[in-house]
């Protein structure tokens, strides 16, 4: 069906985690690398601390902005439970890049449900290619705990074709000047995660 080799990246996280800037940079770098790119996400009520996803697709020609179920090449997770939730959409040969972070959903915060145990291990059972990133720790190492997104992008960049230079150019074009240095550092720390 997608014989023109469309690559599909599904971003999953919790509303308010700021997945938006990461998906913006990702789309920009893919466009600069010469691909047709489409990105879909949802605003409004769903953003209020709920489960959120962004779809990013690129290739020679992309039609639907939504990724067909079961065709996710890379699941890019900002939170463990949300990554686990969308795992069934990933191809058998797909990869997972996941932030090692738990955010309790309301039923867990109220003590009525348990947060699933050993999520990272379960991800590895189901998909061979899993990269767990200590996003917060690396972001703090870069000098600002708010650069988790950029750390994660660094880790994701290893799984995609655009060159190191193209990534840096996209970051420079979208990140405000005063946060640029710390974000570039965060990107490099993420990129070292294998």
């Amino acid at each position: 069906m997608t014989d023109n080799n469309v690559t599909n990246i599904l971003m999953a996280g919790v509303g308010g985690q700021g997945t938006l800037l990461a998906s913006e940079i990702l789309s920009e770098v893919l466009m600069q690398a010469g691909y047709d790119v489409k990105k879909a996400e949802v605003h409004g009520m769903a953003q209020r601390g709920g489960s959120v996803v962004s779809h990013v697709r690129f290739g020679k020609k992309v039609y639907s902005s939504i990724i067909p179920e079961g065709e996710v090449d890379v699941l890019f997770g900002f939170e463990l439970l949300e990554t686990y939730r969308y795992l069934p959409l990933v191809k058998e040969s797909g990869a997972v890049v996941v932030n090692n972070l738990k955010i309790a959903p309301p039923s867990v915060a109220l003590g009525k449900r348990d947060y699933p145990t050993d999520v990272a291990a379960k991800l590895k059972e189901l998909v061979a290619n899993v990269h767990v990133v200590d996003g917060l720790q690396l972001a703090e190492q870069a000098g600002n705990s708010r650069t988790v997104n950029t750390v994660l992008l660094g880790a994701l960049s290893n799984t995609l074709e655009p060159t190191h230079e193209q990534w840096l150019a996209a970051i420079k074009s979208l990140v405000p000047e005063r946060f640029l240095d710390v974000n570039l550092k965060a990107f490099e720390l993420g990129r070292q995660v294998r």
Partner: protein, 588 residues
Amino acid sequence: MQKTILSGNEAFARAAYEAGVTVASAYPGTPSTEILENITQYERIDASWAPNEKVALEVGIGASIGGARTIVTMKHVGVNVAADPLFTFSYTGVRGGMVLVVADDPEMHSSQDEQDSRHYARFAKVPMFEPADSQEALDFTRLAFEVSEQFDAPILVRSTTRISHSKSIVELGEPLMELPETGLVRDPSKFVMLPGNARIRHPLVEKRLEDMSEWACTQGFNRIEAGDGKLGIITSGVAYQYAREVFPDADILKLGLVYPLPKQMIRDFAARFDTLYVIEELDPFIEEQVKAMGINVIGKEKVPICGELSPGRLRQAFDLNPPNLPPIKEDLPPRPPNMCPGCPHRGVFHALNRLKAYVTGDIGCYTLGFMPPLSAMDTCICMGASIGNATGLSKVLNEEDRKKVVAVIGDSTFLHTGINGLMDMVYNKSTATVLILDNSTTGMTGRQDNPATGYTLDGEFASQVDLEAICRALGVKHVETVDPAQMDTTRKVIKEAMERPEVSVVITRRPCVLIKHENVVEDLPPLYVKSDKCVACKACLTIGCPAIEWETGKDGSKGNCKVDRLLCNGCQVCMQLCKFDAFGVCDD
């Protein structure tokens, strides 16, 4: 020309600029909101938030009568509010080109229903374009202004969530440099819709649709993509993308103008195929019209009416290799949306829960007050409905139950369509209580200003509506204002209002914690839980704050609540619920 990546909403805004639009008006509503927010970057466009969609459209109509090209934007349910002027404006036609962009929300990502706005095109006899990506959002909308002037009609452009909020690559056009001439032109036979004039206009409207149907057969926005000749598909909008992906070898008639339909083009296309599908999201709008032409098509017997489409759902509908997904064996805890930490609405709903109020609710972030553990909302119908619903409900209750009825409405929603309900309440001697939750912004759609915030869309200072004075002017004798972060006072004042056998308004005033203007929200230090004092009573959990989490005790110990200091914004509402002094304020 320059290539860039734009959302559909950014492309609609760009189209207005390129087409020489000088006036734009809207009321915010997901997924349409960002169109106006993006239009503010173009200095020659006078863009403003109206108090509701009806006013927005009337502003647009006025500017068109003055000769300007004008854009008005709203979400699908907004057109219900703006329908009155829309239907008559269809009769008068335009002077300057006018486009109404309406954004539907299939799947109801952020809406109370998933009505299909294409019916408005047919109902109001207004032509409608439907783009399938950001490039078409730009091209069709820019073209729509010319078409509006050519056929003397307002033009609808329909978006959906997946067009408005998807980004794709767009080649920008050259903006029109010479703007249409504006000024006063008297033409009462065209613009004064008394019966005598309207009777003359109606046949012109019918002729316009016939002319357009013929004209549309030869225009590039309705196009045929050749396939292997075995299967024909008629489709439009985002459904085209899914059809193209799932049926790569089909011949596709892609409609850019979904009303009126290019009938001859459809007849000629249909005649070539034994099997013909109509693939469209939501209602069988195209399908029914094509069937009425005597053409046999397969549509909603396969393609679902409810919810949005996707390549996966389309494959499933036609039994084409539906994905075989490995299920996750455990039942995962859901993650529904929630009010933010420090949200000023939280204390209000805690009080309403404790007072066992029967709450007629409204549209906004506060609708989330229905979620456990706050669980304090019993109805939510549409913008402004809370007040009328409370009036009607009170009419049929006994004295005891009548006291429990409380309408809850936000500041922006009150100004949108709540005022009339309150006027009725006073005029017709209702006894219900109205809470106006004034968080000084339009929160759910992403914090837009409104007439009560003191700022315009451009961020300029503006006259600020005095909510207390409005309520008093309507005849409400009991108007009280409280800070909802003061839990005891808030509960006491609401209780007194509920007991009172007259209309009472309580305004709970505290700004949204996400508000944009500087120095509006105080920066308070986060809290922590003193684990030696926490007795595990869980009282603080009853406000459902995302920053407070229950930590189960290890090895049989009691467990305790803990605060995530990165999330906590220090509002101290939880602290007021704790009888054991277990909360402390971080001093670092």
